[in-house]
Amino acid sequence: MGRILSLLLLFVVLAATIVSAADESAGSLRKKKGDVLIERQGHILKAEDGTSVYPNDTVSTGANSSVGIIFEDNSRISLGSNSRLELKQFVFEPARRQFSMVNELIKGTASFISGKMTKLSPDSVILETPSATIGVRGTTYHVMVRED
């Protein structure tokens, strides 16, 4: 009986661990203006200040719209109008020495300020565009991607 209980307990603890890992947000939205949407697992969500974003989310802005994202490592990315940014990977775990931030600017304009990630792990931050891959070593920068 005790053995079954402890197995059950172990299962509950494991399940809780898995849930909390999946719950880990990459950052959250600020300064939302106009039409800003988040695509998450096939669903389209309305974005507001404070809305959490997760790896695999795509954040998009309409005409005369813009939004900022503040990440867990204090990196900041903001999008101008008619822009589309896919958050591909965000891992910031200094305790396990795991670092990775990969985003793709699919179209539009974006401005970037690096956070702690590139200080702790200089080769872990990458921005992709449909035509190139940008390796980022702790800096402020801007990117514009024009559509075909």
Binding site: K31, T109, T118, S131, G138, M144, V145
Partner: protein, 214 residues
């Protein structure tokens, strides 16, 4: 290359001698004004530092190290351009909307603790009020709390200690009216020291909880 041949074919030119000359002329013309797809601009950080950007694709790789310079990309198979100068006024126009949407700079507070303890040093006790005042200045806030330790003791002990310190600060903030659903708590043990040291170094500045209002 493909686009150019297609254009030539569409306009009805047979690949005669004249056709080839026409294609060559088009090539010359196109190489002068290939459509720019990406513009990548390096600028200076707010604190004056400048980092580095490397732009790479199947065509090659180029690096920016000087502020207010840019690289242009015309396609995934074509080498990124060499760095070129770009005026600040042009940057301000091209990126006006995204610059305007940059989230405010996070405000960082450091709460120091006594050795191997979850008790704040006297000087840090009043900083709770400072956090509340930073929160009140913002339209929207979230608070991140990260517990740290110095590098004395085992990994396991320091993970527990950094967690307990972070929770002590969290409870003090909630007591002052901060919403618990706006707090994100993490602890990094001895792996993310504020002041880098070797292992087993007693460093008071690393017995710390970092509170970031953002």
């Amino acid at each position: 290359m493909h686009e150019i041949l297609y254009t030539a074919g569409k306009s009805g030119h047979a690949m005669s001698c004249g056709g080839i000359v026409f294609v060559l002329l088009l090539l010359l013309f196109a190489s002068g004004c290939a459509t720019i797809k990406d513009t990548v601009v390096l600028v200076q950080d707010a604190d004056g530092k400048v980092g580095q950007l490397t732009v790479a694709n199947n065509g090659g790789s180029k690096t920016l190290t000087v502020p207010n310079t840019m690289i242009e990309v015309t396609g995934s198979e074509k080498s990124p351009s060499d760095p070129k100068q770009i005026d600040q006024s042009k940057i301000d126009v091209l990126f006006a909307e995204s610059i305007d949407a940059w989230p405010a700079e996070p405000v960082i507070f450091l709460f120091y603790f006594l050795h191997n303890s979850t008790d704040l040093v006297t000087e840090s006790k009043s900083d709770i009020v400072e956090v509340i005042s930073a929160v009140n200045k913002r339209k929207f806030y979230e608070i991140s709390i990260v517990g740290h330790t110095d590098t004395t003791g085992t990994d396991e002990h320091n993970m527990g200690l950094s967690n307990a310190r972070a929770e002590a600060v969290r409870d003090a903030l909630i007591a002052q009216g901060i919403r618990s659903d706006r707090i994100n708590l993490r602890y990094h043990g001895k792996w993310d020291p504020i002041v880098p040291t070797g292992d087993n170094v007693s460093e008071p500045r690393n017995r710390v909880v970092e509170v970031v209002v953002k």
